[in-house]
Symmetry: D2
Amino acid sequence: MNLTSELDSAVFTTETKSPSTLYWSDEESRELSLDERVALLTEFQQVRGQTETLIEPLSPEDLQVQSMPDASPGKWHLAHTSWFFETFILEPHSPGYDLFEPTYQHLFNSYYNALGTPFSRLQRGLLSRPRLDQVLAYRHHINGEIERWLTEDEVTSDLANLLVLGINHEQQHQELLLTDIKHALSINPLYPAYKEQEPSAPEDEGAAELRWLKIPEDNYTVGSDGQVFAFDNEGPAHQRYQTPFKIASRLVTNREYLEFLQDGGYRQPRLWLSDGWAHITRCGHAAPQYWREEGGQWQEFTLAGMQPLDLDAPVSHISFYEADAFASWAGYRLPTEFEWEIAAWLHCRKNAQQTANMLESGQFRAVAEIDALFPDAATSDAQFLGNLWQWTASAYQPYPGFRASPDAVGEYNGKFMCNQMVLRGGSCVTPRNHIRISYRNFFYPHQAWQFTGIRLAGDDL
Amino acid sequence: MNLTSELDSAVFTTETKSPSTLYWSDEESRELSLDERVALLTEFQQVRGQTETLIEPLSPEDLQVQSMPDASPGKWHLAHTSWFFETFILEPHSPGYDLFEPTYQHLFNSYYNALGTPFSRLQRGLLSRPRLDQVLAYRHHINGEIERWLTEDEVTSDLANLLVLGINHEQQHQELLLTDIKHALSINPLYPAYKEQEPSAPEDEGAAELRWLKIPEDNYTVGSDGQVFAFDNEGPAHQRYQTPFKIASRLVTNREYLEFLQDGGYRQPRLWLSDGWAHITRCGHAAPQYWREEGGQWQEFTLAGMQPLDLDAPVSHISFYEADAFASWAGYRLPTEFEWEIAAWLHCRKNAQQTANMLESGQFRAVAEIDALFPDAATSDAQFLGNLWQWTASAYQPYPGFRASPDAVGEYNGKFMCNQMVLRGGSCVTPRNHIRISYRNFFYPHQAWQFTGIRLAGDDL
Amino acid sequence: MNLTSELDSAVFTTETKSPSTLYWSDEESRELSLDERVALLTEFQQVRGQTETLIEPLSPEDLQVQSMPDASPGKWHLAHTSWFFETFILEPHSPGYDLFEPTYQHLFNSYYNALGTPFSRLQRGLLSRPRLDQVLAYRHHINGEIERWLTEDEVTSDLANLLVLGINHEQQHQELLLTDIKHALSINPLYPAYKEQEPSAPEDEGAAELRWLKIPEDNYTVGSDGQVFAFDNEGPAHQRYQTPFKIASRLVTNREYLEFLQDGGYRQPRLWLSDGWAHITRCGHAAPQYWREEGGQWQEFTLAGMQPLDLDAPVSHISFYEADAFASWAGYRLPTEFEWEIAAWLHCRKNAQQTANMLESGQFRAVAEIDALFPDAATSDAQFLGNLWQWTASAYQPYPGFRASPDAVGEYNGKFMCNQMVLRGGSCVTPRNHIRISYRNFFYPHQAWQFTGIRLAGDDL
Amino acid sequence: MNLTSELDSAVFTTETKSPSTLYWSDEESRELSLDERVALLTEFQQVRGQTETLIEPLSPEDLQVQSMPDASPGKWHLAHTSWFFETFILEPHSPGYDLFEPTYQHLFNSYYNALGTPFSRLQRGLLSRPRLDQVLAYRHHINGEIERWLTEDEVTSDLANLLVLGINHEQQHQELLLTDIKHALSINPLYPAYKEQEPSAPEDEGAAELRWLKIPEDNYTVGSDGQVFAFDNEGPAHQRYQTPFKIASRLVTNREYLEFLQDGGYRQPRLWLSDGWAHITRCGHAAPQYWREEGGQWQEFTLAGMQPLDLDAPVSHISFYEADAFASWAGYRLPTEFEWEIAAWLHCRKNAQQTANMLESGQFRAVAEIDALFPDAATSDAQFLGNLWQWTASAYQPYPGFRASPDAVGEYNGKFMCNQMVLRGGSCVTPRNHIRISYRNFFYPHQAWQFTGIRLAGDDL
């Protein structure tokens, strides 16, 4: 069965895969029409504006802090996303463009070694200068220059796609900005909120019942076919022979995870991968990263501050090691990324992300009652999109025939294809039009500061 | 195409897959016949004896040293392999057996957490007691007890297979003993030889010409079908859809690798995986682990001491990061473990390991002129077996349907299925009857103290 | 010879030892007079105000940064000094006082374990909340409460001395604030200035000629006699038998230190203490911390940004290891703290700190031409006070009969009397009325981020 | 009071200060007489032989192990002491001498940077070659060459003193060999004995009563006057003004220390130096290094294996931090090294070391009942010599006028005069004729693997 031919073709419209991001799949590069320029400009402005909306609750001090090597200061995210447009669009493709401040090329390069040694990642939090107001001035300068370029210069579809890449790159950093500030605030004994929120309504109905979605064996096509925007690591589309499997209709809940914990899950080496056991032993981990027990009551640090643990909500901020150990304890396993993708194609309705708990929902955390957010939505989407990135059992490796871009932007994804695991589905802080079913996120198996959760799978049908 | 049905069935005899190791694939456990006991006893004695032959050139001091956390002292290998038989056979299955020394259960447990916390791996080299003579006494005691058990007690085929596992386990440690002592000796400025050897004869003919073996796309069956002995991680046999590929007919040579090095390969971040670049930068690596440059001449530390670099021999003691960077530089890639296995099934003759450079060849290093070792052998085996373990592009993960054994011995392979890469083919220090085409070895991508090398692959046919 | 009896008694007035800080040496505690309260209030307000003047050139981001474990964020210094008054004065001695914010007791405790486990020193830079404006509000609240307490409550001389201790504590943090921000700014490739300054005038005359001050052997009295304010570690006054010695009339200059460097000083292990050699080898040090060579020209990072190295100025930001190695290279040694103190008593004029290069001079760096700053001053003070803290050869240990205060404030000095070296004299960022000849500063021998320099001594008269 | 003039001159014979080690204090170097050569040869042979006697209970494996960076393998001690004679006597002063094996110059150099970069200290335990038998052959070769040189070559008193230095150096390594092997054996869960010993007899009488020796203030002379052999760091002799003090007549016992422990001594930060508290917190120390609690009973690892804690014996293997914290808890302090020396001069009888518990006693641990060892000895020596090295409150720093030797042997003592504390008195594993009252041993304050103990002092007379 070739997935793209067998399923309702309506599912596979551009809108579903990537609902609003523009993209040009023309074989030959061509000049953009005026309408296309306007659409692109609108998208650019919307996304750039959204970043600045996200920092409104934050002070210059909040945006200065780097709370661990994996995280970056908010101010750095603001500057780096601008650096991306300056470095890959304006500098090479906007004739006569002068760098805003040459030292920024060094300071705000993340990891593009082809462009010179980046400023030490570990020291990003030490850059008190430029100040926040200076970084915002840098942003606004870049905005103006891109707007001028889009309206005045010759813009080909190739370059337009590069701009679309920059827009998607900015969206990735919107999510990182929130995950990083969550980590920073969590260290502070004052437990400050990013944004105060009303406590959730009483949850009378509990989490949805877990059903098993069963998928037959076959050769399926997976990966992006290049008709809509996708990162290079999502392609090429290719066939996979898939053995039969079942996959859960929802994520594992806090209640279920608490049962694992209370059953001694963190003290039984047999449940853990060897590296996972070494990791939790060395770090003294005995609960999810943001859980705190006080007086026998479990609480969870959220972007609305410390809150009672919502037992019906999906368990979040879980490392791959924890996800894998939980699955072993429960008698299941994690799905491979291909199983996840095949099941998501088969079970997600068109535009499923429109009724998913994502950045625009304003929740900033995983919730049980998605129906409460979207009362009119069918609940058949099985939480594939939104809420939490879902760890898969798949190591992050290239698809057959994968080739990274030969120029500097080619350092984007390929060089990380070792030691990391694939996550799928987006989270409550992923912008809604940024996610796709073919989207491959990746993190190291010990990392838990992202909005990550667990979906179970199994072999016995 | 199902590989097992399409190819010459003669290839798939027990001999090729696993030429002499015994195995019982009966569905139901049954008692062993006398002949079977004799065969098993002979195999046990041969392998146990071979271990002691290997340590003959070594002093008590040599066998005491642990030169890095990844390695273990030779004396520890001698004791741990005995511990395995005592723990998994004698203690549970030999009625009335008394432990030789109860503390050894703790000291010589490697990583079986289900049996209690093992003695710290990092401190194995600090155990001056038991002395070598005491460890050898422990070995001989275990030998006697196993022999008695095999001849006097009731031995079922299930238990026989457990003993076969112990024999294979001992063979793995024979290889580790040599790789570990090589590392230990290499640190010593006296550069001592494990075993002096005549310098190789002049190599007039150079390395074999590299040919590309081309394999068409299809669904292939890979993995062990359980008819001969195999580790649990080699199964279940299952189908894979394979895109078309080509694979090199021999390993990359020192000459080719030197060209990479001299072209600045270690100074170009674009050739390296991100983690690989971080690793070589942090450690200051600029050449393979055992290469030394002196007066403009490259030398290589071998088990015969420091030797001039043999340019025609396969480059050895290479990390996965180095292998991957070399492949990028050369314009190719590494094969996946499935590509390697499919190609090996198609190109290896029956009993190919009999004419491969393996432990019994007594070379203890990779050589170019395998023909010199085996003048009568056809050279069509493409070096798939022996010489060096070959890094594949595949992360070490479970096959579909993999289940680890539920008891303590189940910690053998499954819990390492994260962060490591698969290697295939065996090496010049692997016992000849230990290797199989389906054999999956695995190490972390930065590790280079094993006898590891590079085979290239590509997509363009 | 008892120093206090033999020398001109005019030298030993309160003014010289501690020119303006108030202190009550009454044997029995008594209530303060109105005038005394006013004097104390004035001093308190002046010092608290000076701290806020010092941060005027700094942004919230600058004050957030902690650039190494030894340093603290400026914002933390602002809060911690307020915490000191709240914890040691208001909470125990101002009836009915309510803590401003209870969590601050934990957040802004530096190292007083008797008051509970302090917030991790390594994470001070991660506390984005309270924000700068909130910390300033905390400061102003404490100011108001202390002012109210001083004017309305019963204040005894004992408590007045505790307040004086708090004032001196605040002055210590004024200096630390500047040394810490200098370190933070130095890491930034933009090399920002704390405060722009005119480049120094051409230095035609060079550094003063070095003379040797010769001191005869005798029993001398050293240490504070308790008649003026002093930290507990400065007493008791006691006798020392001193062998004859000579001591330099000025500090070692950049020119002299550059000669050491260019003579291979950093490459000759024989010049270094064993721990010093290990330290510079491990860290790769080959020049003073703030020196940068660019195009063959040496520059120095200062609080006015990157500047050409002033060859006549004293070499600054030198570790004890560097100071000791330089002295060995020069054929001399460092003075003991007792030699320094005896020489300073004998050679400093009354009120010598009034014409020393200290915080109020506004230079924020060591200068050669002190005469240019104070054209009317005699130059006979031999730079004992101001410019740079001078490493002595003395380990920081208790004086005979030393007793730390039995309550929480007793953790102030005594518990650091191990592994550190004594420095004497104050620096260009020490408040002028904070220094005394008996003042004992102390840092670890590898530390160089303070304003530290070298004075030589010798035995041959 | 000048100590040397006031006390019974009989105390200051060569025998007391350094009972049998030879030494030439002639102002001008002169050739040795035959008798002198014979005496020197006898001493050399006795000490070299004693080293080999000490290793008799040890296997090649025991002598291979390096259990921590501070320790060295026994085999390395055997080789390094030979290297010392080869490097400082034979190579420069025995014409025509050929190095035994040139690589040994690198391998067995400890820390003499002037002689080239030594082999990494951390890797001494990895040198399996040369084997023990080869190292013993090296020793015997050196012995023969020194014997030949002493009998055949021209030997001046200067060179004789260098040989005496080598002999004393060998004695230092005899002690280190035992402390290092004790540490290595202690890590082994088999708790092996270096030498089995009868359990001590029942201790009915308990430890001696603690008396306070009171010493009046005065100017005292301390340090070696150079008339007998002493290390360079023991001189020059010089005056110290000493305030009055009292000092304990015996060491602190295990019983007393246990009381400190049971009173929560390891949990009260106020008792500890700041660095000490950080150290025990980081390392999780809650008892002396070799204490183990099992079933509510305290045991102590000794060179005779694990033994019940002898409550009357002096507490041993104590870090300076522990000693200082105990003293704080007890309401006393540690003596300075000058206080210790003055008291020892005043209270030790002539040849006190002859009735002290030292290496030749064969106890290899601190004992309470020294009288049992020496029934005829007076007990008035106050345990100043033998049993345990006693931590003093003095940082290890040069005496006034100290000059290290200008040649390579000058790296012996001076370069360690930073960050370490002075210990006095020798221990149960110090050779009897190696100790002197002026002897200054030194270790880092966190180190506890030496035989170290506590003597209290105080100010209140």
